[in-house]
Point group: C2
């Protein structure tokens, strides 16, 4: 692993937040966590890999759905404690069937979030549950 | 505070990551942390407020530099544990003088990150240090 990636500021659990953005539209698709292994795997394969805090394991984005992300660029911020990964998204990013995980928008005074995205696939059909 | 914001998933320190994106260009400007107070203040004033983990206090983005961010929209993701705030950025977002904090890009095999942004101001002049 290159020293640049090795020397990022991982948190006390060895994790760093990764913002995933569509390289063409600029849409922010999701945020997930990477550790050194998943970042190394992302660079090596050209496909995003994350570390799941709930399942305590490395995962390839799209491993179940086929909705993988081809990496176009990797940047970091001034503090080197966040990475921004620009990708080409195959299928849709969100496991709930939306292009982006950020499909809920706030409207002051409303009791519920407003759904702004369009559902592109039925999660039950893709994930079989 | 609206129940929608109250019921976001804050972490064990009461914090939630906030991705800040330029509402017109789509450029990701920065990522910082919010707690309930800073999110409430953000909604109330229409200007982004964050919680500084190193200084252990709430801060108004731009309080020293004048480079405030006018909030255009607030979204959350499928897990409701990240917020995406679209803003109009006054001045530049990064305290190092760049439009975006993500001014360093990875190039495989290089020992240093490649600077891709253009410096828009001299931090010494803006912050007086």
């Amino acid at each position: 692993m290159d020293a640049t990636l090795e020397n990022l500021k991982y948190d006390s659990n060895g994790l760093i937040p990764a913002i995933i953005q569509d390289h063409q539209t600029g849409q922010v698709l999701m945020m997930a966590w990477m550790n050194k292994d998943s970042l190394a795997k992302t660079v090596e394969t050209g496909k995003t890999h994350f570390f799941s805090r709930s399942r305590n394991k490395l995962w390839l984005k799209g491993e179940s759905s086929g909705h993988v992300q081809d990496v176009k660029s990797i940047s970091t911020d001034c503090d080197k404690d966040v990475v921004l990964v620009k990708v080409e998204q195959h299928g849709a990013a969100c496991h709930e069937g939306y292009q982006s995980c950020f499909f809920r928008t706030y409207e002051q005074g409303k009791e519920e979030w407003t759904i702004v995205g369009e559902r592109l696939f039925d999660p039950k059909k893709v994930y079989g549950k």
